[in-house]
Symmetry: C4
């Protein structure tokens, strides 16, 4: 068995999802990821952390060890190691193991612990197992198509909260808790997003009037991102339908989970394969 064939077998097992070994690996990986997150969460609860400190630490080291081995194997068997290391998942995989080592070698860097929480993003990796990625692609592409409109929306929101925050700062002032413009902008964000903690509320009549305006503004401009996304998703779903063609009668317009042509009954390409042949394959490839 040559070095290359070992590499290839490893590659198919670790990166692939179609072989039996690949599926077993993926299921083991998702169990490891979720278990390591549970350890992280349990460690943060004082009563549990005090009693099981030792056990949780050992589990933490075990998972970090496993993930380190997995990361090294991925680098080793990948045809383009640097491409993997610099990809989204490559960075997430590294961030999942790095903090534990940093805390180990530099005990003062305890704040790095939180980056361990990014480990949860590894769950995305498993999603490609199932056919969900195709829907995920539709959602992602809709967001991508709408990115400029969303950017304009967020710029508008940023401008609105600055203006309303500044207004309420002048009207209410530090004596009512609005101690500075950043604090007032925080209030404006709490209000415009309709969160409404209530830790900072206007006390004067004019302040309440401005607050009412901010609320109504926030309440109605919520329509904008929803409208943008809905319109894009609608187009995306329709164009997606027209992308799939029946190999038998060449007619398109099939649902994304259709297995047979709805006109002649001929078998359609497998949904997972099918998507690879469209431009959405960009996502599948870039997410490897």
């Amino acid at each position: 068995m040559t070095d290359n064939s070992v590499k290839h077998t490893l590659y198919v097992t670790i990166f692939g999802t179609h072989t039996r070994a690949g599926k077993t690996f993926d299921i083991a990986l998702i169990i490891a990821i979720i278990s390591s997150l549970v350890v992280l969460v349990l460690d943060s609860i004082p009563s549990i952390s005090a009693q099981w400190s030792r056990e949780l630490k050992y589990l933490e080291y075990t998972f970090t060890g496993l993930f380190t081995i997995e990361y090294i194997l991925r680098l080793y068997c990948s045809p383009k190691p640097m491409a993997y290391a610099k990809s989204f998942y490559g960075v997430v995989d590294l961030l999942a193991i790095l903090p534990t080592y940093l805390v180990l070698f530099f005990p003062s860097a305890s704040f790095m612990g939180v980056i361990r929480a990014l480990r949860v993003m590894r769950i995305f990796r498993i999603l490609k197992l199932v056919r969900y990625l195709q829907e995920s692609n539709i959602l992602l592409r809709s967001l991508l198509m709408a990115r400029r409109k969303i950017f304009i929306f967020f710029t508008t929101v940023a401008i609105l909260v600055t203006i309303f925050g500044s207004l309420i700062f002048v009207i209410e002032g530090p004596e009512n808790g609005f101690t500075s413009i950043p604090m007032s902008i925080y209030w404006a964000i709490v209000t415009i997003t309709t969160v409404g903690y209530g830790d900072l509320v206007p006390q004067t009549g004019l302040g309440k009037a401005i607050a009412s305006l901010t609320m109504l503004m926030g309440y109605s401009i919520l329509a904008v991102p929803t409208g943008i996304f809905t319109a894009e998703l609608h187009q995306e779903m329709q164009s997606h339908k027209s992308l799939v063609k029946c190999p038998n009668c060449s007619q398109s317009g099939h649902d994304s989970d259709a297995m047979h042509c709805k006109y002649c009954g001929g078998e359609l390409a497998d949904p997972d394969q099918r998507v690879v042949t469209t431009k959405s394959s960009f996502f599948l490839v870039s997410c490897r």
Copy 2:
């Protein structure tokens, strides 16, 4: 009168909705269900419960008795008793009577009392009386079509609240009320869904910045489930229209509540019958 014909008459009365007896039974049933819920609610109010304890208990036993007889009759007259017992409504019907018996025989199991609240789900059963089930089917099918996209959305929200919760835990810490990661995830859910109780609010500047980000995130990703459902519902409504054909001129595209063909004026099939002939009949049957 044979045993079989008694069975069939009972079946038509209890499960059916088209005979006079069936309609009377259904109306009596909905009154009983709502009355039993009112008893449940009144029993929970201390001042009323103290004064009318005895009467409420007797009413409770009466309703449980009635529902028990109904459940046994359903089992008896159903052509496939096990299919009914295992169906959604069969389980709900059982859950509506079981808790009272459990409390009766095991007085310590008082916490089971809450499952009695599930009795309210029995109201769904009555909905099939009216023509509403057809719209209900459209809504259900839209949700069913969108289930994968909704799953991806909830996974994303779960990941976001874990990350933001962990971040705020490290930034604010136990001294500001964020005592553990689960507690901080609870805060993140309160914030990202724009509920904003205000029982737990960030105190530091950095914490407020993270909170602002969480709010804006929650405010704008609300667009995603709305977009998904709207797009699916739109498709569902259009495909539903094309399912109904005029028996006279064979043209389709009629509204779901249309009684006459909009092109030739010919009478269309009764909306309630009509839906049974389409694939949406799956729901009507499975909800029996």
Copy 3:
């Protein structure tokens, strides 16, 4: 000048909107309605009410007198007085004057004062002045078309808040403020609508978990009414477009505010007139 012609002139002035006198009357009416509301609001502010009590009372009597005269004239000149009296606007017009008389004759009936606030609904009357009623009709018809789906949605929400309210009542109990099931259902409504006052919050871990579920539920089912309304409005706007036909080239598909045919440039019917010839005229007539 016969009695009939006086009646007709009055009718055209008071109910009509196309003559100069009719427009002047409508503008005077809207000023009177808003002024009477301002008086109502000012009367509720303790500091103002104490100082201007006498003046506000006289203004109140003046407006009630004016509205009484208007109501009698409407009854007098209307071709079908009873139809007017029983219409939506007829009831609102009566409710706007009745409370003042009741308070005058039965001083103890001071709680009736609030029904005066319904006077604000009279503003709807003025809306027909402008072309807005047409858009209003599209919105109303969309809601009307969606009424069954909306009913199903509200039934589902009612069931959800009952179940979640009952659950939190059992979990948190009276010691944490959840004193009864109605109180807990109130909490569930506050939470599921993402209002989140924070006057009642779960204290236990399990309670927080149930609360999180309620929030996520409320956050995502918001998509349902939005989806329903958007889909209906979309259809309504498209069918509305096809209702308007060019008298010159007979082509349809014109925007609701178009004055000229977009294909041949021929003048289209006046938007206000146009709508009367469609089925949406139902609303115009019923709102008289």
Copy 4:
């Protein structure tokens, strides 16, 4: 070099975006605008303002000086100075410099300081640099098309909050914090927009019932602006697509960021140029 050519060069640099000088000017301007805003915000934080008072003041004067020079140059080189001064951006540009002078000459007018926050609106000016304005036009036109429906929606909300506010005022009364109708309307706005500060909550059972109704109302009518905007945006996006024609094969329906015809591959007009030839150019021109 004639005076006219100087004017034209200045005009192209300051108002234009296609020359190298124009782009450099625009980038310098956006940096200056954001920097001046940072100074404004820092000045409002007590701890920073106390220590760096002098430096912040000087920076403030410097930015005001720069913006004054810019404003004068714009007036000078614009072919129609009055049109610029009266345009939206002309007013914003003036408002950005005026307050500092007012505070300088009338030290008591310190409240004018807040209008300086309007300076942030100048950022809009920069947006035209990039291709984002085209999407911005689609969003603006959708809002413009929907303005009457939005007006009806806001009128309805205004009526609802008046009615619910008046009701809660009578039910809860001053002893529970609802001191006047304006105060109660403020509560109704906080509730109907699902903000829910919690500074004012109903205490009585009936008050809680009215509050629940207000919340459910607010929760579901949120569907209305979203539906309106989504439906308009959908139409706008489709009509926009049909506006762009391929110069080679004359087929339309291209995406707004398409560079090549999707049917024949022929090069399409540059997106930025393209939009100028449609009716949406109104916005580009009016925003100059």
